[in-house]
């Protein structure tokens, strides 16, 4: 039977209304489900944020092709963004295979095929918690330095004399952010109960200086924890608070010069 005009419009209104209600609920489910854990460490070549989440078809090909079984897929209700690949460096780090099997396995390009050299990968960046790092506490450790696939490039050692006793020395691991790929070998090997060196996605840990700041003369672009004054204090230390305060206002003359 042919519907009357009224029935016709009523049916379409019902369909539209139920579609809108279902669509709204569905929309919320999808956005909640695609809410990434910001600390999740992704495989090499993973694109940023939504670009990765949209392109990843959740096939697990990178997982099956990872020779070290470091990668796994997030499980619904256990990890965020179910179905997408990640790894937990403390359990199994990325071994930085030079032939990039995970990237080559990815059929969609969610892992960017433009990544050709594993040393250019940016899975994250290692951060040292100096409060719990054995080396910073004065013990001899160096484990993270030794296991780093980019030893002497991504992690270097800095030698400092031990002020308290005048004997012995600190041998401190230093991460160079721009060289670190975030593979997590260091985090995996760190001997402390909870790793003192850990990999976090770069966007979580790196700031940006901003162009309007004028940096110290001769050191432009080189502000880092490695920065050391050219002439160390005679006693070998930084000179403590007293010297720091002495120097604090000395810079003013330099500043005037530049004017």
């Amino acid at each position: 039977m042919k519907p009357t005009r009224r029935q016709f419009f009523t049916q379409w209104a019902q369909a539209a209304a139920s579609g809108a209600v279902a669509g709204t609920i569905w929309y919320q489910l999808v956005t909640a489900s695609a809410q990434a854990d910001p600390a999740m460490v992704r495989p090499p070549g993973a694109r940023e944020g939504k670009d990765f989440l949209a392109r990843c078809i959740k096939c697990g090909s990178c997982v099956t092709d990872c020779p070290f079984q470091a990668l796994r897929l997030a499980r619904w209700g256990r990890e965020n963004t179910p179905g997408t690949p990640f790894f937990v460096p403390r359990e199994e780090p990325c071994h930085m295979c030079s032939d990039l099997p995970c990237v080559r396995a990815c059929p969609t390009g969610a892992l960017d095929p433009a990544l050709r050299d594993i040393n250019d990968a940016d899975m994250g960046v290692a951060r040292i918690d100096q409060q719990s790092c054995l080396a910073y506490l004065g013990l001899r450790c160096e484990v993270c330095y030794r296991v780093c696939p980019r030893i002497d490039t991504a992690v270097t050692l800095r030698y400092e004399s031990q002020e308290r006793s005048g004997n012995y020395a600190f041998v401190l691991p230093v991460v160079h952010d721009e060289e670190c790929t975030g593979c997590g070998m260091c985090e995996h090997a760190c001997p402390t109960d909870v790793a003192a060196i850990r990999v976090l996605p770069r966007r979580l840990v790196t700031g940006r200086v901003g162009k309007h700041y004028r940096l110290g003369r001769g050191d432009a672009g080189q502000i880092s924890r490695d920065f050391r004054p050219a002439t160390p204090h005679p006693d070998g230390s930084g000179g403590g608070e007293k010297r720091a305060l002495e120097q604090l206002n000395k810079g003013a003359e330099l500043y005037d010069d530049e004017r």
Binding site: L53, R72, W76, R78
Partner: protein, 292 residues
């Protein structure tokens, strides 16, 4: 068409078609389990046959396969995709165009086994779902999948799909995903008859559309049929078996048909069998051509 004439047109009324002797249900279960096993072996035992999951995979490390509906959703988000996955999706569409779109549902999809289990329990318990859902609902879900993919910027169905979740979960770890699978089971058991597969699932709807083009169909011999209705009762999408349509077309041509073989197995007259025929493009009834 000569092969058709040979099998259906000139067969004597006494010999049942070959397809009746085949244990289709067992074959279907073995196929479902076998495919799952091949994927599982690919992930855990280094088997080369199928590596990945139903969303995308490679056969022997060479031939790419991809879920065409998932690819469509990703494209709807506006993201570019690598050629591999596009080729994979075309291969899969091509395959199901030959054998029937919803062959995926009946022979591959793991949730179908769950839905069939619910249907089996429902029949045993004599339950009828209180809700009768319109079949076009899943086409709405299909449309919504694509619209929501564009709005959310991620493949909307893939992020909530019980199908992907169940299959992936069985291979790579399911987490709490079993709850969604249980949800489908309970929904089908208590709320709506064949609710998920035939009324809600947008992936099934997608494959229904592909199914209209299929070459492999259930052939109907009207001279054997005595209108007992056994096929109708066993078919989970019984609208495809309308006698009127069958008489006119000589085969099940509706895209919703699962090519599961249930009707073939139950037909006491052997009036149904699997056969190849061209996509139903002309309006000329196949039966008339056969009789001629």
């Amino acid at each position: 068409m000569s092969a058709e004439t040979a099998t259906a047109g000139s067969s004597s009324a006494s010999a049942a078609p070959w397809a009746k002797a085949v244990p289709w249900r067992l074959l279907r279960r073995l196929t479902q389990a076998g495919i799952l096993l091949l994927f599982f072996g690919g992930a855990w035992w280094d088997w080369p046959v199928l590596r990945g999951d139903l969303s995308a995979s490679r056969v022997f490390g060479v031939i790419p396969l991809a879920d065409p509906f998932a690819v469509l959703q990703i494209l709807a988000t506006g993201q570019a995709l690598a050629t591999t996955v596009l080729v994979g999706a075309l291969i899969v569409v091509g395959f199901y165009t030959l054998v029937g779109g919803r062959v995926f549902c009946a022979w591959v999809c793991p949730v179908n086994a769950v839905a069939d289990a619910a249907a089996w329990c429902r029949d045993r318990l004599g339950l009828r779902g209180p809700y009768r859902l319109p079949r076009r609902l899943r086409f709405m879900a299909l449309g919504l999948s694509l619209i929501l993919s564009a709005l959310t910027g991620v493949a909307a169905f893939e992020w909530v799909s019980p199908v992907a979740l169940a299959h992936r979960g069985l291979i790579f770890g399911i987490g709490l995903g079993w709850m969604a699978v249980l949800g489908v089971f309970l929904f089908d058991l208590f709320l709506a008859v064949n609710g998920w597969c035939s009324h809600l699932c947008p992936l099934g709807a997608f494959y229904s559309l592909v199914g209209w083009l299929r070459l492999c169909k259930v052939r109907f011999d009207h001279r054997r049929c005595d209108s007992c209705g056994a096929c109708h009762r066993t078919c989970p999408v019984s609208h495809v078996l309308s006698l009127e349509l069958l008489r006119r077309a000589g085969a099940v041509r509706h895209g919703d048909c699962l090519n599961c073989g249930r009707c073939i197995s139950v037909c006491p007259q052997g009036a149904l069998t699997f056969a190849l025929s061209a996509p139903y493009l002309s309006r000329t009834p196949i039966q008339e051509r056969n009789d001629a």
